[in-house]
Amino acid sequence: MPFVPLRELIATHVRDGMTVALEGFTHLIPFAAGHEIIRQGRRDLALVRMTPDLIYDQMIGMGCASRLTFSWGGNPGVGSLHRLRDAVEHRWPRALAIDEHSHAGLAAAYTAGAAGLPFGTLRGYSGTGLAEVNAAHVKKVTCPFTGETLAAVAAVRPDVTILHAQRADRAGNVLIAGIVGASREAAFAARTLLVTVERVVDALDAPMNGVVIPSWLIAGIAEVPGGAYPSYALGDYPRDNAFYTAWDDIARDRDAFTAWMTRHVLGTSDHAGFLRSVGVAE
């Protein structure tokens, strides 16, 4: 598990055409890593995230993705992800194939992937349209003990999962505190796990049942302060709800979106530059 700069981490491990999951449920969304993927011009990614959020809105709008697996694609509490919508409704900047789940279904698919099983099972999808439109990944299975009909979801196995966490120790063990979403499952489901962290510290001082990812599961770590901004890192900085609200106007218009991304993401060389560019860094 080497510590490397984010640029090198992405260049080494994320290739065109890969299936990539940037997880973190509202909390600890790896924005810095997503921006670096945009800067490096990756294409044809099959993106996986429960909630695409602004980071996938940005990656989709910048043409990085050709496929999306997701379970809720809005700007939470604000409205639409306009770039996601534009891709689905008008194929701009390119067509985007979607594999759509419910949260319970995608969580089960990640859990199966993490456990090395071919599918996950749940009581779900019964009577909904989702089972029809995502028939390739949602089927029925009969319980061999009770005869009950259950939903089966194909396991999700990303080539690369990227997480953002609060802390790593110098040996590369990683601690996540607060809302974890399906991060652990996405981490174990991946062939390659990459992590960005707020800070590297001498000792994690993790609670005994805390969410600690051992160093030997991780292919590479980059220290990126503010790496979850405009989402948040509990204990370090809060979610920038004002920015999430402001994004609605930025992303609604193709030209405004492209200008914003060109200035703040393509026009900066790293995440510190991005944070200064949007006026958030001290």
Partner: protein
């Protein structure tokens, strides 16, 4: 004397009143979140609120913009992984009430939050399912809160994201869904209740200043009206004060700009 209030406030208050103190409630974002927290801050201080981000027993001081705001984690009894919320808590039968919103609803309380128009070529791509399908299926009962107008209350859903009573009658039971389904649909014009036999939504309550004719005009199918719709009491001064305080604190909190210190 009651102060003037808006239809949105009446809807939120009417929704909040449905929650009994001590209930375990799985909360959707937006209108459901406001109603559930109003209930917690007024008549139901022991209401257990669960958000799909894995926050259990949360007591936010301001309404979260997202279902995963730090406020929810910091005020929770427990923060658990998301898969566990859907397996152990919801699928395991621990959730009494599901509280949902949606873009569209039909006469049997089925919900659409996925698309308007054809799925493969939608005119409007909506956010999608989130936790709603399994909440609608597995919570022991469901409340739906939505503004009532004819584009939202439609004869035929563009997409069935979450099941209410399916095609009516015994259709829900035939699907094997464990929860009882929608108990009430609370709107800005009144309250709709499923008929005990057909499970078709019926207007059973209006508010002061709203009429069955208004509700009928705002519904895309011939709305059934109870023979004697009752009139829900208007918001009390306390309900209005608490709700407005909550929205004021929320607005202030969400407008705060933040600064991040870069080390080195």
């Amino acid at each position: 004397m009651t102060a003037p209030y808006t239809p949105d406030e009446m809807m939120t208050v009417a929704a909040a009143r449905r929650l009994r103190d001590g209930a375990v409630c799985f909360v959707g974002i937006g209108l459901p979140s406001a109603a559930c927290n109003l209930a917690r801050l007024t008549h139901a201080p022991n209401l257990v609120l669960i958000y799909e981000s894995g926050t259990v027993g949360t007591r936010p001081n301001v309404l979260p913009l997202s279902i995963g705001d730090g406020e929810l984690a910091e005020t929770a009894t427990a923060v658990v992984p998301l898969p566990e919320i859907f397996t152990h808590y919801l699928q395991g039968g621990r959730v009494e009430v599901g509280f949902l919103g949606a873009a569209q609803i039909d006469r049997f309380g089925n919900l659409n939050s996925t698309v308007i128009g054809p799925y493969d070529a939608p005119t409007v791509r909506l956010p999608g399912a989130g936790g709603a399908p399994e909440i609608a299926a597995q919570a022991r009962e469901v409340f739906v809160v939505m503004k009532q107008h004819s584009r939202a209350f439609v004869a035929r859903l563009a997409f069935r994201t979450s099941v209410g009573f399916g095609d009516g009658g015994d259709a829900r039971a035939a699907l094997g869904l464990r929860g009882a389904g929608p108990r009430s649909v609370i709107t800005d014009l009144g309250i709709l209740t499923p008929d005990e036999q057909t499970h078709e939504l019926t207007l059973t309550e209006v508010y002061e200043g709203t009429t069955p004719d208004q509700a009928r005009a705002a519904t895309g199918w011939p709305l059934r009206i109870a023979s004697q719709p009752s009139v829900a009491p208007p918001p009390t001064a306390l309900e209005l004060e608490v709700l407005r305080d909550l929205h004021r604190r929320t607005k202030e909190a969400h407008a705060q700009r933040l600064r991040i210190r870069l080390s080195g």
